[in-house]
């Protein structure tokens, strides 16, 4: 019976745990609201749509989070053992059905609402006048290939890859279409023009990630994966690799330069002259 005696919980412990949960809720909500460490503003309409979907999810989950954590805190404090008799119940089917259907509607609804922001980047075809740039990832750099004046990419031949002689992606020397191809280590695109990236990898799986585009895509060897975007703000943004790709993983990055149309033309001219 000694055990029975010490079964009494103390109000202090209950109060402390409840308080901790309240602090957790307040702190978390504050961090999310205050945006101390925000994601940078999106520079595409799709990015905005992604953020909208993110906010929507944040509201739904936020409400559930606050209610359940505070409910837990309240239950712990209010029903702590102070000698009362526990209320005997085995549950309530109406309630079960109620919250089951509620969560089904809430969560699945959220899932379907998220479809649009995903479809915009992945389901739709790029427009006919989109600029095509081929992104080649290898340990541990990105290379960006522009088709040049003829608008056609030259064939690739792995055997001819040699970064030292300025052919990091291995353009086939025997293919005339490849003669005027431009290969550069940073990505430069004109503002408000649709760009289609053809993402490929030479060795292991890499990833092309630009926070401001809200766009992430693995670069898988053996595959050429197209994605497209339309940047709406001039500026320089960081491209990083988010897929563990070996020892230099954390050093693998490049830049996305979004420039005005005229600057873009100049860039192409310079590079063409440089070939």
């Amino acid at each position: 019976m000694r055990i029975r005696k010490c079964n009494r919980g103390s109000a202090a412990a209950a109060a402390m745990l409840a308080l901790l949960l309240v602090i957790l809720v307040v702190g978390t909500v504050y961090m999310f609201v205050s945006h101390l460490y925000p994601a940078p503003a999106p520079i595409t309409s799709v990015g905005a749509a992604v953020d909208h979907q993110y906010d929507l999810t944040l509201y739904v989950t936020g409400i559930v989070f606050i209610l359940s954590q505070l409910g837990l805190a309240l239950a712990i404090f209010r029903f702590r053992d102070h000698g009362q008799q526990a209320h005997f119940t085995r549950g309530n089917n109406t309630l079960e059905v109620l919250w089951t259907s509620a969560t089904i509607i809430l969560f699945l609804g959220l899932g379907f609402l998220g479809r649009k922001a995903w479809a915009d980047t992945r389901f739709t075809e790029p427009s006919a006048n989109a600029i095509h740039v081929e992104v080649t990832a290898n340990q541990f750099v990105f290379n960006f290939r522009y088709p040049g004046a003829d608008g056609k990419f030259g064939k690739l031949d792995p055997k001819q890859i040699s970064p030292s002689t300025g052919n990091p992606v291995g353009i086939d020397a025997n293919d005339p279409a490849g003669k005027d191809d431009i290969v550069v280590p940073t990505l430069t695109v004109p503002v408000n023009r649709q760009v289609e990236l053809l993402i490929r990898s030479q060795d292991v799986i890499h990833n092309f990630f630009v926070r401001e585009l809200r766009l992430q895509q693995d670069a898988v060897p053996g595959m050429v994966i197209p994605i497209h975007f339309t940047a709406e703000q001039v500026g320089q943004y960081e491209i990083v690799c988010t897929q563990l790709c070996g020892l230099g993983h954390s050093r693998m990055h490049s830049y996305l330069n979004v420039v005005s149309d005229s600057d873009y033309e100049n860039f192409l001219k310079q590079q063409a002259a440089g070939q």
Binding site: Q139, D203, V204, P221, Q243, L247, H249, S250
Partner: protein, 194 residues
């Protein structure tokens, strides 16, 4: 019928049959639990080293060759932390440990359905754990391709460096191969709906 009635559960005598190669689900459960306890200590140490490196990458560590932790060592920590925690703590303690110990008691059974299979699967798990710890010392060192081991990074020796790196994970697969046996043993209890 009578044959197994007699042979069932004669109390084992002698230290080895009682505590090491015991077929008693309670002993096996405790063995799994202690294995997980060891594994979790290793895993925590690895994670602490990772956190340390993230904040003070240039701090000199006494036990690291050359003092500075290299990228390879960090990635090895990531991989081993993940693998050890998932396979030898989260899979081992709740199911292998407490499941083994209390499932039979809670349903009023004298033991698991297949006590010897049960013991076997523990010892294979144990060997797998020894092997994965050995990955730290094999030439080439521990794998660095993450516990998900995405190919081609994990598939080509030169890149991941340690050709031996995946050796442990293969042993791991062996232990995974045996796990279904113990799960089978466990599933017994339920195949007996009257």
């Amino acid at each position: 019928m009578s044959s197994h009635a007699q042979s069932a559960h004669a109390a084992p005598t002698g230290f080895v049959s009682k505590y090491i190669f015991s077929t008693d689900h309670k002993v096996i459960g405790i063995q799994y639990f202690l294995l997980a306890l060891t594994a979790v200590v290793v895993g925590i140490v690895l994670s602490v080293l990772m956190r340390f490196h993230l904040v003070w990458p240039n701090a000199h560590l006494p036990f690291v060759s050359g003092g500075l932790m290299t990228q390879e060592q960090y990635l090895a920590l990531v991989t081993m932390h993940g693998t050890i925690m998932v396979f030898f703590v989260l899979t081992t303690a709740p199911q292998g440990g407490f499941g083994n110990y209390f499932l039979p008691i809670q349903i009023g059974a004298p033991d698991m359905a297949f006590p010897r299979l049960n013991m076997l699967s523990f010892w294979v798990t144990f060997l797998a754990f020894v092997a994965i710890i050995a990955a730290f010392v094999v030439p080439g060192g521990a794998p660095i391709s993450g516990w998900t081991g995405y190919t081609p990074l994990s598939g080509i020796g030169e890149v991941t460096g340690p050709g031996e790196g995946w050796g442990p994970d293969v042993v791991d697969c062996q232990h995974l191969a045996v796990l279904p046996c113990v799960t089978a043993g466990r599933s017994q209890f339920y195949c007996h709906a009257d």
